[in-house]
């Protein structure tokens, strides 16, 4: 319905009608839950009324729907202008690539000149951009990550967030093997994370083994759990599998909560041994890291060390995934995701193929869990709930199933925004939920980037286009 066919006044009345209907529905939806508040802060349950909140919400719905309808009815015109704008921006960027680099260098130089204290930050910014221009986005991201602690050495808060982000990047990449490559929806991934964390905590406390000995063990335990779960359930179809993994995740959490003699139940396990630098602990004693290397003791050393540990772990996950994708098993995973029946007809055993994906994904989850335990020094079942699984899944979904760089970006954006809006916990979760719905509606193969099958017969186009258009239909 373009503006040309429907007159301006009729567009307006159509939009008004839509908005009115939306407002009535909103009134029905929000009347009780937003219009009233059940309050038991003083004695028995009583009701408080919130007419202003209700009216505001309905007003927002009305205006929002009105604007959306206006845009929708004028979509052709709007799309034309937006498209023209985008083309203009793109061509400008192409024309002036070198000019842009020079401009950035100038800005960087000026920045150093005026505030010399910030030089590491400026250095890595400029280095990142230069490398990005020359070698592409992934290389730039890698350089930025590697130089990050140099720039933010004096800012432990940023370093802490970066470590959390990298943990999620690693979890996302681990789950990406299962969901993105093999196409198995795993809603209980956090269970493997928990198994890794708990096995590290328990082994390290009981036997006093070092982090580097326990790390592979934690991964093995998690992989073992993956096989244990996967073996019976991987015959199931997609959505049943999802629910079963969800149930499994909950079972693991409940067992952790109630097996008090092993896991200390809801109180969790505290004072978990810290990771050491080739046997040298990070503390202020004579044998500590600072004394050995003739430095002044600084707790940031440990944080920087942890940063590089998780960076290395995440990169290993990434590297293994990229290598596996080129091996027959990786090819089989992707084929399985696209068409299970075809895979079976080709004589590939789908259960075994799925099992490897499950076990390898679980193993990386276990590594991440062990890292989590040694970083926190304290773990409890509260860290391994279903929303955590949903978050990791959302990272994979938003990033584009199967795409490594997409998952990394999604993890960064989500974790960083979660940190920034920490005060608005529920708001951000409501938005997060809607984002998952929106992605499925508009970009079912991922927001940031998409990955097409690595190997294909001439008809690559049909495969990818079919999936995308199906989502829009």
């Amino acid at each position: 319905m373009s503006a040309a066919r429907t007159g301006n006044s009729s567009v307006l009345s159509h939009a008004l009608k839509d908005a009115l209907i939306a407002a009535i529905v909103a009134f029905g939806l929000f009347m009780l839950l937003l219009g009233f508040l059940t309050d038991d802060s003083r004695g028995p349950l009583r009701l408080l009324t919130r007419p202003v909140l209700l009216a505001t919400t309905i007003g927002i719905v009305f205006v929002g729907r009105f604007l959306i309808s206006l845009i929708y009815y004028n979509a052709t015109t709007l799309r034309y202008y937006l498209g023209a704008l985008w083309t203009a921006i793109c061509s400008l960027a192409r024309e002036f690539k070198i000019a842009l680099v020079v401009l950035l260098l100038l800005i960087g130089g000026g920045w150093v000149f005026f505030s010399p204290k910030d030089w590491p930050l400026i250095l890595i910014t400029v280095a990142t951009i230069l490398i990005g221009v020359r070698f592409g986005f992934s290389a730039a991201l890698l350089v930025f990550a590697a130089l990050f602690p140099v720039a933010f050495y004096n800012n432990p808060y940023f370093l802490g967030i970066a470590i959390i982000i990298l943990t999620y990047v690693m979890l996302g990449w681990g789950l990406n093997i299962v969901v993105g490559l093999a196409g198995l929806l795993d809603l209980g991934y956090v269970a493997f994370y928990a198994v890794g964390a708990y096995s590290y905590a328990i082994i390290a406390q009981a036997y006093g083994w070092s982090f580097w000995v326990c790390l592979p063990l934690a991964g093995l335990f998690a992989a073992f759990f993956g096989i244990l779960l996967g073996f019976p359930v991987l015959r199931l179809r997609g959505d049943y599998l999802a629910i079963v993994t969800l149930a499994f995740g909950e079972i693991v959490r409940i067992v952790l909560l109630n097996w008090v003699s092993l896991t200390n139940g809801p109180n969790g396990i505290g004072s978990i041994p810290r990771a050491s630098f080739f046997g040298i602990p990070f503390n202020a004693t004579e044998t500590g890291f600072a004394a050995k290397f003739g430095l002044e003791f600084d707790p940031t050393h440990r944080t920087v060390f942890l940063f590089y540990v998780i960076l290395a772990l995440a990169l290993i996950t990434n590297w293994v995934t990229i290598r596996l994708r080129k091996l027959p098993v990786g090819r089989a995973w992707e084929a399985l995701r696209e068409d299970e029946i075809a895979v079976r007809s080709l004589g590939i055993n789908p259960t075994n193929t799925k099992l490897t994906a499950f076990a390898i994904g679980a193993m990386f989850g276990g590594f991440a869990g062990a890292f989590f335990a040694t970083r926190q020094g304290f773990i409890s079942p509260d860290s391994f709930t279903f929303p955590e699984s949903a978050l990791i899944l959302a990272i994979v979904v938003l990033g584009g199933m199967g795409s490594q760089i997409g998952v990394a970006i999604a993890a960064t954006v989500m974790t960083a925004s979660f940190e920034l809006f920490r005060e608005f916990e529920q708001f951000r979760l409501v938005i997060f939920g809607f984002a998952m719905v929106g992605i499925m509606i508009w970009r079912p193969r991922g927001l940031v980037s998409t990955r097409e099958p690595t190997a294909y017969l001439k008809e690559r186009k049909t495969i990818s286009v079919e999936h995308v258009t199906e989502g829009r239909g």
Binding site: L32, F36, L185, Y240, A242, I243, V255, L429
Partner: protein, 305 residues
């Protein structure tokens, strides 16, 4: 023996609630083949709407319990079904014909939205309602220490469930809407070709499912008297288990599965351990899906190219 009988009565009441929620899962699965992950949260929204409706009724002076209960039921069914409709309209309808896991992921998103919306709107604290329906009847007294009792609320739950099931079966078997629903269940595309308004039928399916869930929610509220924004998750998974156990897509199966899950959970809590009662339900889900994926009353599903 008396203890067993008592637990069976408790289990039946609990199972009726699960059964009502399970119908929502099984209907939606039957028609569009998706797991409506947000259905458990619709149930939770139902409990909250019932609670607020009751408090409003008390505030405007309707205190006669039967009348209040009836109005509460009406309001809860009406407004909760609106939620069911809205969820379908926003999150599932645009995804019709998308790849298989898309609606499930979308449903998970919707479930997160509903939970946090209720938490934002009504607070994270547990809401407690004093028991409205009191009184018990002694069923069996053998002179031991233990007396088997049936409470009025349990009778109410079972009777309401029976009445709803009867009405619902009638809708499915003898109305034009029911015929449309059965047609959609058999073959959505063919039904559309033959002039069934499939979008409308699917919307109504969600509406009815949500209405039944809201009744279950109200019963839950009256039975336990304690609700919070989080109850939908576990209740939802258990109801889904019930639907799978009974054979997903089959309506009597959903009710049967609900009763079985209610009984198993009650016996498990009574004879083994309360802490692991959720593990029991989840394990049943896994075991049933592995060994008997078509459930007790379900039809085997053939996967076609």
């Amino acid at each position: 023996m008396e203890y067993f009988l008592q637990q069976s009565i408790n289990g039946l009441a609990l199972g009726s609630i699960y059964g009502l929620v399970a119908i929502g899962y099984t209907m939606v699965y039957g028609i569009i083949g998706m797991i409506n992950f947000a259905h458990g949260d619709i149930f939770m929204v139902g409990t909250f709407i019932a609670l607020i409706a009751f408090l409003i009724l008390v505030a405007i002076g309707i205190t006669a319990i039967p009348l209040a209960l009836f109005l509460m039921l009406l309001i809860a069914m009406l407004l909760t079904s609106l939620y069911g409709w809205a969820v379908e309209r926003i999150a599932y309808r645009p995804l019709r014909g998308s790849f298989r896991l898309a609606p499930l992921i979308s449903a998970i998103g919707m479930s997160i939205v509903l939970q946090n919306y209720v938490q934002l709107a009504q607070g994270a604290r547990v809401k407690t309602l004093q028991p409205l329906i009191t009184g018990t009847h002694t069923v069996l007294d053998l002179g031991n220490r233990f007396v088997v009792q049936v409470s009025n609320i349990q009778i109410l739950i079972v009777l309401t469930t029976l009445a709803l099931m009867t009405g619902f079966t009638w809708i499915i078997s003898s109305t034009s809407l029911g015929r449309d629903m059965r047609a959609c269940e058999q073959d959505l595309k063919m039904a559309a070709l033959l002039g069934v308004d499939t979008n409308r039928t699917i919307s109504l399916t969600f509406l009815i499912g949500a209405a039944l869930a809201s009744v279950a929610g109200m019963m839950y509220l009256l039975y336990y008297g304690v609700i919070d924004f989080h109850i939908g998750f576990v209740a939802g998974v258990k109801a889904f288990t019930a639907a799978v156990l009974g054979g997903i897509g089959s309506l009597p199966g959903a009710m049967l599965g609900g009763l079985l899950i209610g009984l198993i959970e009650t016996y498990w809590s009574a004879y083994f351990s309360v802490q692991y009662k959720d593990v029991a339900a989840f394990s049943i889900l896994i075991v049933v899906l592995i060994f008997m994926p078509t459930g007790i009353l379900g039809r085997p599903e053939v996967e076609k190219v």
